[in-house]
């Protein structure tokens, strides 16, 4: 009898634990959406409002009026897309070479890549800023994307995908008469769709959420990315919490939509990383 009640308490604890943290995790998002629809008074009253009386869609109008969020969107979309597409291109080619081609110095290159993986981005972000500044590329799309057109990390990730393919496939294609370029685009890429989609998703999302780099490299409002635009807006909006929350929702919603559609791909991609690590 004792065992039984112990069991029940244990289960209750477990469910409670999960429930609490689930709520804690998801609540800020719900609150963000709801808060963005509140009026100013509602955001500052005590007790705090959870569900606004009226849905003030005008908040969003005000947000777009006070700051060029449409422009921020455009900038972020362009830079995230460009870095994603180009990174995919360069990483696929690099990972292919490291996987299927034999050449002198391969071990050395592998070692260099491995060491570079350990270098935190923040250690090189400032000197990169310097380089971009010297090239006169501040406040330009090119400056925003240039250091991020390849990724050792994704090259590594793709390598683990590519090496899972039997090397006889590559040999067969050579005997069939395909050039390396034809092999990459006609065989390797179609066979690795899963990995490529994951890289694309993760790369796009991280490009969408980037903050420190654009903070360094842009100061003109017209070139700001969403995150930076959002933070400067939050600064300017001062106590207008409801507008800040509306703007935050604007920033977060597109990614959440992509996330919910592709969640399996994204989560599987992140997990696969770890298995190879």
């Amino acid at each position: 009898m004792k065992q039984k009640s112990k069991f029940r308490w244990g289960m209750i604890f477990v469910y409670l634990f999960i429930a609490i943290f689930a709520i804690v995790t998801v609540f800020p998002f719900i609150y963000m959406i709801l808060g963005g629809l509140m009026s100013y008074q509602e955001t500052t009253t005590i007790p705090p409002t959870i569900i606004p009386k009226n849905w003030n869609w005008s908040n969003y109008q005000k947000v777009f009026q006070q700051a060029p969020f449409a422009r921020y969107f455009l900038n972020t979309f362009i830079t995230a897309s460009v870095t994603t597409v180009v990174t995919l291109f360069t990483s696929v080619l690099g990972a292919f070479a490291m996987t299927s081609l034999k050449f002198k110095g391969k071990g050395f290159v592998q070692l260099v890549f491995l060491s570079l993986l350990m270098v935190p981005g923040e250690a090189i972000i400032f000197t990169n800023y310097n380089t971009i500044a010297q090239l006169g590329l501040l406040n330009t799309y090119l400056g925003l994307v240039l250091p991020f057109l390849t990724s050792i990390f994704y090259m590594y990730y793709l390598q683990s995908y590519f090496t899972a393919i039997s090397p006889t496939i590559y040999k067969a294609s050579k005997i069939d008469g395909a050039s390396d370029w034809e092999y990459v685009w006609k065989i390797l890429v179609p066979m690795s769709k899963g990995g490529l989609v994951t890289v694309a998703l993760l790369s796009f999302i991280s490009g969408w959420n980037s903050f420190l780099w654009p903070l360094l490299v842009t100061n003109e409002d017209s070139m700001r990315l969403l995150n930076n635009g959002l933070s400067s807006f939050a600064n300017d909006a001062g106590a207008q919490t409801q507008l800040q929350l509306a703007a935050a929702t604007l920033t977060v919603l597109p990614v959440l939509i992509i996330y919910f559609i592709f969640r399996k791909q994204i989560i599987n991609g992140v997990v696969r990383n770890d298995l190879k690590a």
Binding site: M11, F17, I18, F21, A22, T25, P28, Y31, M32, G35, T43, T44, I46, P48, T90, G94, A97, M98, L101, K102, K106, V112, L116, V119, P120, E122, F126, T127, N128, N130, A133, L146, P147, L149, T150, I152, D180, N209, F211, L216, N227, L230, S231, N235, Q244, L245, A248, T251, V252, V255, L256, Y259, F260, R263, I266, I267, V270, V271, D274, L275
Partner: protein, 287 residues
């Protein structure tokens, strides 16, 4: 097929050029710059002066201390919570995909945006958190404007943000454990506790080691979370000053990039050192 194919370099070329320019060169440059003084456009060699400067700069030590406290508190706490959550969901919940999806949301969303909500919730006057605390007769501190609480708020925020990645990775690892281990354990009448401590946890050690490394490195580089939580500042009166914040300050605002680079080098070495220590520790635990 030739065993030394020069065309391989052609395939690597675009990546290699970019990596050399934007990964290798900046490291060298940062290192060189750490021995230089003066403004960005006119730097000159000044030996170890920058290093001497940061070593006697109380702000540097505060930044380092804050960063260390944050890293060594937030990371283990988050990891423990994540392990508990992952294990509970994995072993007791049917629709794991649903929960996994929910718990992973923070990973894909903008830190700045979430910071705005947290700022609102943590607001000393009208924030939801203090309201709830009042309702249960607990003290309602000024989370964001009390300098002695800045780190605490940051740690809470940091833990919240890092659960996502940890949980998903741990769930992947849990799925990889041979289910037959549990089948056997059940036959021997093992309790849930025993199953967790004797089977699950030992199998998770490599994953935990990986997460510790990644999280600690990430914690040492923390910047955006601070910016997000304190609206651009490093907490009231710089009470939440962290290493990268310090570097950013010295680089962009004060205009002494050499000092900033010296701090960067120190930070980088520190990260390497911690990683090395932690790897050693894990090897010991493993054996």
């Amino acid at each position: 097929m030739k065993e030394n194919q020069k065309k391989a370099w052609l395939f690597l070329a675009p990546s290699l050029v970019l990596i050399t320019l934007f990964s290798i060169w900046p490291i060298i440059r940062a290192f060189l710059m750490s021995f230089q003084g003066g403004p960005l456009i006119d730097m000159h060699f000044n030996g170890l002066q920058n290093y001497k400067y940061i070593f006697v700069d109380p702000e540097f030590w505060r930044a380092l201390k804050n960063t260390a406290i944050y890293a060594f508190v937030a990371v283990p706490v988050a990891l423990v919570i994540s392990i508990a959550l992952a294990w509970f969901i994995f072993s007791k919940i049917k629709h794991t995909a649903f929960f996994e999806t929910m718990f992973f949301m923070p990973y894909v969303t903008s830190t700045i945006a979430i910071g705005i909500v947290f700022r609102y919730i943590f607001n000393g006057e009208y924030g939801l958190l203090n309201f709830l605390l009042k309702a249960v007769h607990l003290p309602q501190p000024d989370w964001l404007d009390n300098p002695s609480l800045s780190l605490v708020s940051l740690i809470i925020f940091g833990i919240w943000s890092s659960l996502a990645f940890n949980i998903v990775i741990l769930m992947g690892a849990l799925r990889n454990i041979d289910p037959n281990y549990y089948v056997l354990a059940n036959m021997y009448g093992a309790s849930d506790k025993e199953k967790f401590w004797r089977i699950t946890l030992p199998q998770l050690v490599p994953t935990i080691a990986f997460l510790l490394t990644v999280n600690i490195i990430g914690a040492f580089k923390i910047y955006t979370q601070v910016y997000a939580l304190f609206n651009g500042q490093a907490g009231i009166g710089n009470s939440a000053m962290t290493a990268v914040f310090y570097i950013y300050n010295k680089f962009q605002i004060v205009g002494t990039p050499g000092v900033a680079m010296a701090a960067t080098v120190v930070l980088f070495l520190f990260i390497l050192f911690v990683t090395y220590l932690q790897r050693k520790l894990m090897k010991k635990v493993n054996s």
